[in-house]
Each structure stands twice: as C-alpha cells, then as structure tokens.
Symmetry: C2
Subunit: 469 residues, 2 copies
Amino acid sequence: MLTPVTDAFAADLRARLPAACFRDLTPAYLEEPRGRYRGQGGLLLAPGTVEEVAEIVRACAAARVGVVPYGGGTGLVGGQVMDSGPAPVIVTLERMRAIRAVHPAENVLIAEAGAILAEVQDAAEAAGRLFPLSLASEGSARIGGVLSTNAGGVNVLRYGNARDLCLGIEAVLPDGSVLHGLKRLRKDNTGYDLRHLLIGAEGTLGIITAAALKLVPPPARTGAALLAVTDPQAALDLLALAQGRIGEGVSAFELIHRQGLDFLAETMPEIRQPWAEPPEWCVLIDLGLGAGQDPGAALEGLFAEAAGAGLVSDGLIAQSEAQRAAFWALRESLPLANRKIGAISSHDISVPLSAIPDFIACAGSALAALGRFRVNCFGHVGDGNLHYNVFPMPGETRADHEDKRAAIKRCVHDLVHALGGSVSAEHGVGRLKVEDLERYGDPARLAAMRAIKTALDPAGIMNPGAVLA
Amino acid sequence: MLTPVTDAFAADLRARLPAACFRDLTPAYLEEPRGRYRGQGGLLLAPGTVEEVAEIVRACAAARVGVVPYGGGTGLVGGQVMDSGPAPVIVTLERMRAIRAVHPAENVLIAEAGAILAEVQDAAEAAGRLFPLSLASEGSARIGGVLSTNAGGVNVLRYGNARDLCLGIEAVLPDGSVLHGLKRLRKDNTGYDLRHLLIGAEGTLGIITAAALKLVPPPARTGAALLAVTDPQAALDLLALAQGRIGEGVSAFELIHRQGLDFLAETMPEIRQPWAEPPEWCVLIDLGLGAGQDPGAALEGLFAEAAGAGLVSDGLIAQSEAQRAAFWALRESLPLANRKIGAISSHDISVPLSAIPDFIACAGSALAALGRFRVNCFGHVGDGNLHYNVFPMPGETRADHEDKRAAIKRCVHDLVHALGGSVSAEHGVGRLKVEDLERYGDPARLAAMRAIKTALDPAGIMNPGAVLA
C-alpha cells in the first residue's frame, strides 16, 4: 500500500535536498491537454542532478510514497497526472535541461531529460547535424517524456521511433539506484537491454534523467509534394512506388482526408488551401536527398509513373522551401482544427500496412451502425499509424454524443485488434488505455510485464496507476 | 537447484511429445566453433511447433531441468553449450524452419526461429525485397540465434543490428507460456517492450520461436571501393565525408589492416590481392543507391575530395559486380585466415567512434608491454566495432602464449572499458564473458538484470550459466 505525502515527509526531504528543488505546485502540473484527467495535490520537486533524483526516489521508496515523473506535460493519455490514490511526489525534470555534449563526428548528442525536443533539434542543427524526431508538440515536449512514451511523429518512416534514436540512457530505478548507461555505442551486446525496457515504460520502471541520442547528417536537398490519390490503397501503392524509386530518401508520407481540409477551412480560413475542390484523399510526401540529387525531378518522375498507374489524379510539387513549409503547416494544423471542432472520440491506432484500406472501410461501416458522424482519418500512413477521430455532425456538439463515446472507442479498437493492430501506436497507455491493455493484451505478455514491474518496483511507487492497473 | 535429465523425465516427455521431437544427441550439439567449451550429454529435442516448445519448457520448469536453446551453433561465446551443472535438455529449433509468410507490400517477413539466415535472405529476394542482416555465418546461423544474440554484421551502419530488424516475436517464456507477439506493426506503444528484452538475452529469458522481420526495398544500384587511408582517424574522417555526400547510401564501411592482407597472402595465396604493396590501413566502402544514381560517380567524387583532403592515398573502385564481390570475398576471408594462423586472444569490442584512433594506439602500446605479437585489427569501423585479434609472431604458436592469454584479454578489455566501450559489441556474453560483465557492468544494471531473470525464471532453468552467473 502506498502512503500519501505528509508534512513530515516533506520536511525530511527539505533537510536532504537543496532549496532549489522545491517549487510551488501550480495547476499546470495537474492538468493534461485533453482535460480528461485532473491530478491531485502532493509535493512538486524539481531536482537539478541525477543524484537529487535518486535521493527523492530513495526517500519515496522508503516511505512508500508514489512518484509521478513529469516532462513537458504534452502526453495525450494521462500518463503525467495521477488522478486517484494517495497524494504523490511529482518530479519535474525541468531543471535538468542541459545539452551535456554534442559529438558531431560520432553523430551523438547527450541531453538531460528536461531538454525540450526543439532545443535538442536546435543543438543538433548548430553542429551541422539533424535530430530527426519531429512531432507537433516539439516546442514543449521534453526528451525524458519523449523517450518514456517512445514518441513517434512524422519522420518515423525514415528514422524510427524515439527508441530507435536512443543509444543509451541514464536513469534512476525504483530503488533509487542510478543506471549509468549513457553509452555512445552503436553496438553493445552485453546483457539485457534495459534501455529499451525503460523507453516506453512511461515512468513506471524508473525515471530517465539523460540520454545519448543518435544524430544523422542532414539531407542536402529537400522537397515535398501534395498528391491527390484515388483511395487509401492507392496511397499504399504510391508509398511502395516512392520507396522503390527513392529508397530511404522518403522521409515522411502522410495521409490526409478531405474532412481534415474541410475542418481547416471551417476553423482556420486564413490557412491557404491547395485545392479549390479538395480530393477525398491526398498524401504529403517529404524527401531528403543527397547533394547530387534533385528532389523536384524525383517527385516529378514519381508523379508521372503514379499517374500512369492510375494512383494519383492531381498534385502539387513544392517549388520552394516556403511552399514545402506551407504544405507542412497545413498538415500540422490538422490537430488544432480537430480540437476546435471537438472530437467525440480520438484514436491513435496502427494496423499492418496492407490492412489499412480494410480498416478504413470497415471502421466507417461499423460506426454508421452507431449513428451519424464525421470522421477525420489522417496521419502517418507510411508507418501504418492513423489518427482516426470521430466528430459530431454539423450543428451537433461532442456533448450530444458523450453517451456514445465508449461504444465508438470499443468499435474502433475491436476492429484494430481483429486486424492485428495496436490501440496505441505512438501515444502510449498512460491511464487512458489501461483497460484496453487488459482487454487486448496478450496474457503471457501482461503476466511478464507484471512480474517485471513487481521485481523492479515491489512497492509500486513509480507512476502508480499508469500502464498497469 | 536444478536437477539433471533422468530416464524417468525423458520417458515422461516421450509420452507427451510426438516421436519426431526426439533426436540422437550427436557431438555437433555439444561443440562450439572456437573449441573452448564442451557441452555435456543430456536430452536433445527438436520440437516442430511452438506448442511443443511450450510443452517441453513446462515439463522442464516443473522438474527444474535446465533448457539450452540451440540455433545454428555458430555463436562465438559459448552461449549454445552448457559445459557444467546438471545435464540439460537441449532444444534445437531446426525443425521450425518455415518462412510462414512474406508481405512484400508491408516489407515484412515472418520466419520461424530455425530458418537459416541465408534462407530468409533468399525468401526476401524472391519477393523483390532485401533482408539486410549479413554476416559471415549466414549460411548456417538460424534466425532464433541471430535474434537471441542480437547479431550484427556488415550492414549495421545502414540497417541496424538484428534487434532493429525485428518488428515482433513469438516466444516461449520460462514458465512455458507463449508470448504471441508476431506483430507486423511499425508502431505499437502498448506497454513494456518484451521483444527487445528477449532479443539479446541469449536464451536466458525464454526461447524465441518465430519473428516478424523488417525487409527493405533493395538498392537499385550498388558499388564498392577499396581505399587506402592514411590512418584510423582518416578512416573516420572519410566515413563522415561519405555520409555527408551520400547519406544512407553508405551501406557498409569496413576497416582492414595490412596484417589481415598479409595473413591472407600467407594462408590463402589463391585469393587475388588488390595491392602488390598493401597499405597499412584501407577501408572497404559499399554503396546501395536508387535507380537514378551512379555509384561509380559517387565513389569517384568521394575519392577526389578525400584525396584532396589528404585522407586517402590510393584506391580501387569496383568496375563491375564481380569486382565488388571480389572486394567482399577479400573482407570475408579475413576471419578464416585468422583461424588458420591461430589467435592467442580475440576481442569483439566497440568504442565511441571518435575514440577509435586512441584505442588502436593505446592497445598497441599496452600489448607491447606484455610481449611481441602480431595484431589483426579489422571490422565494422562505421559502427565503432573492431575485431582486435592478437597473434603469435612468425615461428611461434598460440600454445606458446597460452599463459599470456588472460593478461592480453584483460589489457584490451580494461582499455575498452576506460574509453566507454563494450567488451562484446556483437557476439554477446554467452559463457565466455560472464566474468567480464561482472567486472565492467554497471552495478545498478546488473542488479536489475538479476531481478528480471529471477522474476521471469525463478528456477533458473533457461540456459543456465549464460549471461549471468
């Protein structure tokens, strides 16, 4: 059983930690972007060193006080706020924000967990390198949270998820011991890979305090195109064609449905739309090529072949970096437009690539049996990852359908599961999907997860209630 | 405490498993390539299905009999032979050899653990795809072993280690439960990543029975060059130059020392050497490019710039696929020449990329204090991974230096550790490096590894004596 933070516990910590570690617990630390969870009061601590993090965790382990690690607060599944149970210690990594080192010749950067993702990108760029992880919240998400949730984003197709961009971690384990694993190695086969165990564990197995991150040489030439595709299958065929012609040069491949463009027109009319009459489906292709290559010519060649094969009917190829940025601004504005419309239920799902057309078709029919909705289906189709968000019809509000939310979610998730997919492709489990994990998770896997959790955190102090009930 | 296989135990299994599962325990299953370990007798089982593997493991767990998983037998650290303790069950995966499915549109292939690596490569090629894992023993190594040891090889620079090429696994856990994790997903953030925990665990946490493997579109154009470099630092500078100019198109970047070419000339004079007077250091660069690109031109451009910068003094660019194959045959013959000469001590190490020149210089001086030796230092320098092998002087044999072997190993490994490196870059821990892991491993990491091992395998039946003492 956990115990709440008490005055005596706080006083004891005050005697052991510098004053700078203590911060006022403002409401921001108890909220999350979708407003579904409300954290409860407790003690907010902002350690400045890994030793201070270890001191905090040791004290919490001894007193059986819960520890909630807090990054940038951008998580969408409630992993960062503990909404029930004894009042915990909230550990924000915001003071551990240093870029400890950049090794451009090795393509490695060492960042503390509190570094903002955009700061890491900037530090890489200043060294003539690229840190390719890119996602909508990069201006506030912190590296520790990005790793703890194994964040994805738009460049996974080429460069992988957060875990694929991490060579080593420093972390404080649930007993307060420090895992010194900031290796700058591409190959190290000496035992169990605890790095990959902590990455994606959402703070339930320890607190990541720093990471050795992979950098890449930035592409010399970039390009982008918005191509209208016949249907989702044509999008997949176009992807295969693009990868066959251009290889790893295809950095991103995003699917956009007309519904998203309509939402944009409705909520943000200031954003210039590429088409007067939007196609039902289009894709945004982004290229990053070497110095001797011509992205425009590559995209024109791709378009010609795809048009000949009946995959694409229309398209725009960015003629400048500004146009490429405009294409991306369009794509990155979709989530904001969604928020302005107000989804009844949002789903971050993945299915095997070839099951995408089936998923889209079947989800549409299954939802129709539950009522009339608008669906904005978009996302990282190159990774099999779609954001499938369900909205009320014009004139209705999400509140009108609150009673249908559970059924909609269940309907979408059941279909995803039946197709061999994942009900959380890139956002994690947090608190929102604990029941889904129970329902859809492999029993042997769940049992092994519980055994590992109990072995490393016998008192259950680390992020109580997240991932595993 | 484990118990040995008894006649009663074997009889019980005979009643529960088809006769095809029982094979004669021939000496091959008790040997390993370097001849340092000799396995002991026990019971050899060749299950044909994952359910039969589970049945075996459940029986062993109940009776506390050790289980040694056996792949292709090519491991170089004794992970596949149990040389002491109660006689175990040896589980060979050779009957589970099917390619269960190929999904070219998804770039995914499902292979059973007993599939030979070369068979997987062939199945991918037949579907117009590439499975890029490539290593010297690919003609006999099996996928289960390749994953269990997180094997590396020559294409890690571009495509990653075995773990980076695996999307999901099916495995039998130490309690005999079956982990159904053959997901074909690029993104799945639903809880702890048990796939990465079992990959590289060398059979100590369960038996991998099948895997969903990543394929890639094969490069349309390939090319290779052998370039004489001034010194190891020049090799690194050349790598950075190549990656800056050609990006991911650089598939492999291998360092070769003159000693290796001399060994080749001595032991395999039939192999044609590229130089009459070999340079002290050279690198083999391999390119895989898109359809519109010209590997020859890319290599010529690279050579010109590198020569201008004083990095390379001489070089050969393959003018045909046959010449490229000849360059690779030269590289791949180095280990065989080494075996013919007979190393006193072999080391599979990695250090941060920028520490490579220091490592080579310091290791040379440190060894000189122990005696006069020949050193063949070669390998995957693009990954920071060197095979640093120490040989007797001409006229001497390895037996003359048997007493110095421990000191040589310690000397090399101490230096690697001091430089932040790994004493097992791609071969694993097995039984050979258990003590090294104890000596150099992070205490918190070792404690967490032990806790996980105990949690998942409380009786310690899985590959006893490997990885953890």
